[in-house]
Symmetry: C2
Subunit: 229 residues, 2 copies
Amino acid sequence: MSDNRGMTEQAAFLFDLDGTLIDSVYQHVLAWKEALDGEGIPLSIWRIHRRIGMSGGLLINILLRDTGLDLEPARIERIARRHSAAYLRRVGEIRPLPGARELLRALTDAGIPWAIATSGRMETAQPTLDMLAVPEGVPVVTRDEVRHAKPDPDLFVTAAQRLGVDVRGATVVGDSVWDMLAAQRARSLGIGLLSGGYGTEELERAGAYRVFDDPQGMLDHLEELGGRL
Amino acid sequence: MSDNRGMTEQAAFLFDLDGTLIDSVYQHVLAWKEALDGEGIPLSIWRIHRRIGMSGGLLINILLRDTGLDLEPARIERIARRHSAAYLRRVGEIRPLPGARELLRALTDAGIPWAIATSGRMETAQPTLDMLAVPEGVPVVTRDEVRHAKPDPDLFVTAAQRLGVDVRGATVVGDSVWDMLAAQRARSLGIGLLSGGYGTEELERAGAYRVFDDPQGMLDHLEELGGRL
């Protein structure tokens, strides 16, 4: 017997963090560049940008495959620590994206469940969660808590579980192709935002059913997305 | 009588600089962000990235239109100066893109004419031209020398004139949609490179007839592009 519960119920939104709610992608990109330069690993910056949104470990592994290098786990961990330090040095210049706080407040006020699911670790996510004033009780799932980060679906599946909703009835909101691919693997819908610096077409090709500029753009269209206020 | 000279002659290549030969786009983006923040003008970073490749003045004007602000010329000039200073502080971490020096050397060795045409000013371009070891006699056209920068065709038209070739028989190589649109306006062919961080599809939609990863990717396919070595 098919279980179609969850498919006509109220919407639930699972948000990526960097580039989706927070204007932090370019600082992450240059922090990874600095970390790799520090280990003598030359890599073009656009290749890092294309991989942002994956977990740090997966990002490093794939970047190393691109460069033909093979590194031991201790060095990978050192690169990740260098990235965190370089990112946290830049965090003072980072701000929420336009409409991010307003969108989250509108969902909360309307009683629409939402959660945050980030490939980053809590160490780098915490300062930006503070900027968003995420209310008590909203699930925040970080890379520390799941076995596989995006484009695996685990982060979004775990976030849906914490909300008590069926991930297949939920909508994933993200800025990168990795969010859209993870949404497909979770059988969620994907909404793409341009605020991470990727193009409309590549988000659509990765499965986004709608693309908006940023959280403000999504807020302006919320009632088309199942988000009845 | 039609003048079809120049259409079957040897290829000539007109190169953009930032993001095309030099891995400098992300530093330019954050330098503009710093300059705008310094003037109290809030703007999402991806919107700056989408406008990079235009002249500084045009970029500021369009960004201001996006924000609904209207600034006097003196303030625009001050933002441009802040950008130059912020960029030049970062220039030590900037490197040529993979294959850039090898591609230019291969063209020079084969006697294929090439030039550089950048929307930047000589002040910010000079340090990266030095990294490329551009030979004596290669035309370098900067924003200082033309009335309108990209997406107007003036920079590429002037570069072709300095080479003594017909711009309509030349090939423009750039990383941004502005390069591809300027190429169309000059009736040149456009080759897009992904190394500025834009997507394949948006470069193709702006008119690129081929898209490669970076200068190395173009070098690997040079003989398909009229560049007989």
